[in-house]
Symmetry: C2
Subunit: 305 residues, 2 copies
């Protein structure tokens, strides 16, 4: 299954230096998820050729404008595009009310149903369960209720051992079963071909965690253990630590510390303060603590292998 | 006094063909007014180097998203920029409630006061009165309550007749008074120097009318008589007349008919349907009825002479 993150916006607060506000597309197989929707997200979706019709689930971390003001425009455009299929919107208390009020004054009766799923900022909760993946929200610590999101693959297809498979000849059904990680049994229920004989040991399922807008908060480590890719905001550099604490944001060093302590494989920085036109110093700062750090840059896609 | 209109967005409904949603900057002397605020207006203000701090009055025609979804982002950015001076927002019932609800869930206590002025969609009303200009709202006919806005200069400085002024020598005070259109009187109150003797006949004060989103509605002509520049939406061409009527929009021909019948000096088309990548046919259609028609194009400034 393809598993990748495309960054649509990387700046905090207001757009600056050609950088937009937070928004990401998380693609898992055929599923296209939108994570946070700063103003202008629909422009960015067009720019990076993301098909609107594929988005069925939108996740909003919190109700600061730079993380959700683009949602209403996307909903309007879905409506204008004659969308019929339902949309699920996950976000904190209040989001439902804001969208419903705007639809009321626009006299808009949407052509498709929206299911609002309210996130809770106190505990980890599974909010989406599909056959091949699940998504959970978990608490972050910000000035207002705010959650991160954890995207988890349920299992990964097995890699067949070619030489052993040869002995099965053309038994396509058996081979498919083994590839899906299922032993093949005979009529009596006895194992005929065991997965562990015909397949390489399985790779662990992949995980992506999105931590948008939080003060340095080691309690989140429990929720993001050993993720393959961690997006963690890094609004400031360490020299602005006091400002970071005052505004409930993190520094690049703190993001890197969280990534290291959670055993993440890679770290993606973002939500940069407008004071940084050049982002390299943030990257450098984080790499001192956690080497496999990347800068999130708009239009770039980060593949989770 | 400088009097000009800069177009920030010209597309209807959703952004397309590199065109944004409705937003304009109307500059009258030192005053910078924002008229409608489609999503991404703050991006456009930056792109065209309009100083945020100069905007003290924002006019919203109606509560369809493509005309106001950028307002909350602008208010947030004002707040982040430490704005102190008050902001006046003019718009229909509901706008106050929408903004207030969003501020509530963001836990934002603005650093500057907002004064909401509710427009009424039934009659013409003067909503802003400044020493040198006034602004009125007037009813349009759309699917939801919607008003246009009329920007009027109060008077224009007189042009002095140089040869006659010579006879006044260095009487700077008298000359200034005449230039401002005021007769100079002696101690007994008798006219000493009459404006009509020392000045050329006055030019009439200039007017700009903004008609956003309306079905063809000749009743608006009474409100926009002899404007120097008329912006009138032209979502469709005449071949889509039925669609225009169904959606309470106008065709280019209809916009031109309104301009002609109102005795406007120039017409500015806009709010183009996404179906038109090439806008020339709309211009051509309008020009058959009203020759001095212009296409509104983003980033362009239209000077009212």
């Amino acid at each position: 299954m393809e598993f990748q993150v495309t960054v649509l916006g990387s700046n905090s607060a207001a757009p600056a230096h050609g950088r937009n506000q937070t928004a990401q597309v998380v693609q898992m197989g055929a599923h296209v998820f939108l994570v946070d929707c700063g103003e202008g997200t629909q422009h960015q979706l067009r720019r990076y050729k993301v098909k609107f019709s594929k988005v069925n689930h939108i996740f909003i971390s919190h109700l600061h404008g730079d993380h959700y003001l683009g949602l209403m425009g996307i909903i309007s455009t879905f409506h204008l595009n004659n969308r019929k299929q339902p949309l699920w919107v996950y976000g904190p208390k209040g989001l439902d009310e804001i969208i419903t009020l705007q639809l009321k004054y626009a006299h808009t009766l949407l052509r498709f149903p929206i299911h609002f799923v309210q996130t809770t900022p106190n505990s980890k909760n599974e909010i989406l369960d599909l056959p091949e993946l699940k998504v959970s929200s978990f608490p972050l610590l910000h000035r207002i209720p705010c959650t991160g999101f954890l995207f988890e693959e349920k299992s990964r297809p097995k890699k067949l051992i070619k030489e052993k498979i040869k002995s099965l000849g053309n038994d396509v059904e058996a081979i498919r079963s083994l590839a899906n990680g299922k032993d093949v049994k005979d009529e009596t229920g006895k194992i005929k071909y065991a997965v562990e004989t015909y397949c390489y040991p399985g790779m662990p399922p992949r995980k992506y965690a999105f931590c948008s807008d939080t003060i340095y908060h080691p309690e989140i480590i429990a929720y993001i253990q050993e993720v393959d890719l961690l997006y963690h905001e890094s609004t400031f550099m360490q020299e602005e630590l006091i400002r970071a604490e005052q505004t409930f944001h993190s520094t690049a060093s703190q993001a890197a510390t969280i990534a290291r302590d959670a055993g993440a494989k890679q770290l993606l920085l973002g939500h940069y303060s407008t004071r940084y036109a050049d982002l390299y110093p943030l990257l450098w700062e984080a790499k001192q603590i956690f080497e496999p750090t990347l800068l999130s840059e708009e239009g770039n896609t980060y593949i989770i292998h």
